[in-house]
């Protein structure tokens, strides 16, 4: 993806809208009446204590969890990086990225992406031997395989070192410059200027 190039035209386009979202977990209302809109270039940070429903809200936005109330309108393709990395124990970062590039029909330079993510050294090491931070990098590298306007990130900085964190921040900045949007659940300092914060 070329940084700084506007990929999506028109700032009035909403990439993602949700209205009146609510969900039950067991007998308890986890949250209700959550509405949000995400426009190109925006970054929304979800905050709240553990168990407040940040992950559940993100999964609803991704279409993985069905809301008990309200609706989600997905106006654009999205990338999902959940708190589980999605790597198989015997997959290497290289085979992982190649598999998903093929599955998505994306024409990406996997070697360059591995290099960008600081994964060129462990590129051919099976995921079960990788550190949590290396697996996280491989999961986040999927974001670069294909240009998609919306990124949904659940705790993207978990297990990353300072350098990895900077890389992700640069990716987010480039994505927003190109007219993409990010919705992320983050603890502590987000590191990027959020255009909106939502406390659950």
């Amino acid at each position: 993806m070329q940084l700084g190039q506007r990929v999506y035209s028109g700032d009035d386009v909403q990439l993602l809208t949700a209205s009146g979202l609510g969900i039950l977990r067991g007998e308890r209302v986890l949250f209700e009446g959550v509405s949000l809109t995400v426009a190109p270039g925006e970054a929304m940070v979800l905050r709240g204590p553990n168990g407040a429903g940040k992950t559940t809200l993100l999964r609803m936005l991704a279409g993985l969890t069905r809301p008990e109330a309200g609706r989600v309108n997905r106006g654009a393709a999205l990338h999902w990086v959940g708190h589980r990395d999605g790597l198989k124990p015997n997959e290497t970062p290289r085979t992982h990225l190649k598999l998903w590039a093929k599955a998505w029909g994306a024409d990406a330079d996997v070697d360059a992406i591995l290099n960008d993510m600081g994964l060129s050294r462990p590129a051919d090491v099976a995921a079960r031997y990788l550190s949590a931070g290396q697996r996280r990098r491989a999961a986040l590298a999927r974001l670069m395989l294909e240009t998609r306007p919306v990124w949904l990130l659940d705790e993207p900085f978990t297990a990353l070192d300072a350098e990895g964190r900077d890389r992700v921040l640069a990716m987010v900045a480039g994505h927003r410059q190109g007219g993409g949007a990010v919705v992320a659940a983050v603890h502590g300092d987000a590191g990027f200027a959020a255009s909106r914060e939502m406390v659950l």
Binding site: R59, A62, G63, L64, T65, R66, W80, G82, H83, R84, D85, G86, L87, K88, P89, N90, E91, T95, L99, W100, K102, A103, W104, G105, A139
Partner: protein
């Protein structure tokens, strides 16, 4: 719709099966072990072995198909791959069918290929066509794996869901087991049994993927 995600799911499932070391051989060992123990238990009288052989092989086949099914979807839930598969452009039912078929190729097909050898151990008559026997065990096994896949998808979020899979899948195995044994033993009405077996396998191939897809969406919910 492009078939790329379906092919990727198939290839990943094949890779997973072989990466587990001897994991793919586990059903084969179970199948052979169960069949070999029976003659030791009931005695080696040839007429008796010939009579019970096909039935024993069907029971062993049904049980060995359950040995490794537990992991095919549960692992995807645990490592997060299921979330990614649910978001591809391909129908979830096609993804689930591709994964189950890959699993049958690595764990079920070897069982069918092994069956002629075991049939010989059960004193199969000299004139028996062992190869078409293997084909029949293969077709029946395919149905077992697809019905078992429904159980595996339904219990994907359940720890130690093996027993649950057996409870869900075994009733669905009944038609295949009946038609399969009839086809092999040449019992009364056995002429149409192979066709009925094919029909029950096609029925499972047509229905099971949609049941698996619904169950997998629930597992991710």
């Amino acid at each position: 719709m492009s078939p790329a995600p379906i092919l990727s799911a198939f290839r990943q499932a094949l890779g997973e099966a072989w990466a587990g070391g001897a994991g793919a051989l586990l059903p084969l060992g179970f199948f052979a072990g169960a069949a070999v123990l029976v003659p030791l238990g009931i005695g080696t009288e040839p007429g008796m072995l010939r009579a019970v052989g096909p039935g024993i092989l069907w029971v062993s086949l049904a049980l060995s198909s359950l040995v490794t099914l537990e992991r095919i979807f549960q692992a995807d839930v645990e490592d997060g791959a299921l979330d990614l598969w649910l978001q591809t452009s391909a129908p979830v039912s096609a993804i689930a069918a591709a994964k189950t078929f890959a699993h049958w190729l690595t764990a079920g097909l070897p069982l069918a290929l092994m069956s002629p050898v075991l049939a010989l151990m059960f004193q199969a008559e000299a004139g028996t066509d062992l190869l078409s026997g293997a084909l029949i065990y293969g077709l029946g096994g395919l149905a077992f794996f697809f019905w078992g896949g429904v159980g595996a998808a339904l219990s994907a979020t359940v720890r130690r869901g093996g027993l649950l899979i057996a409870l869900i899948a075994l009733p669905l195995y009944v038609p295949t087991a009946i038609f399969g044994s009839m086809a092999m033993s040449g019992a009364a009405g056995g002429d149409s049994a192979p066709l009925l077996l094919v029909a029950s396998t096609l029925f499972s191939l047509a229905l099971a993927p949609f049941a698996m897809a619904a169950a997998l969406r629930l597992a991710a919910d």
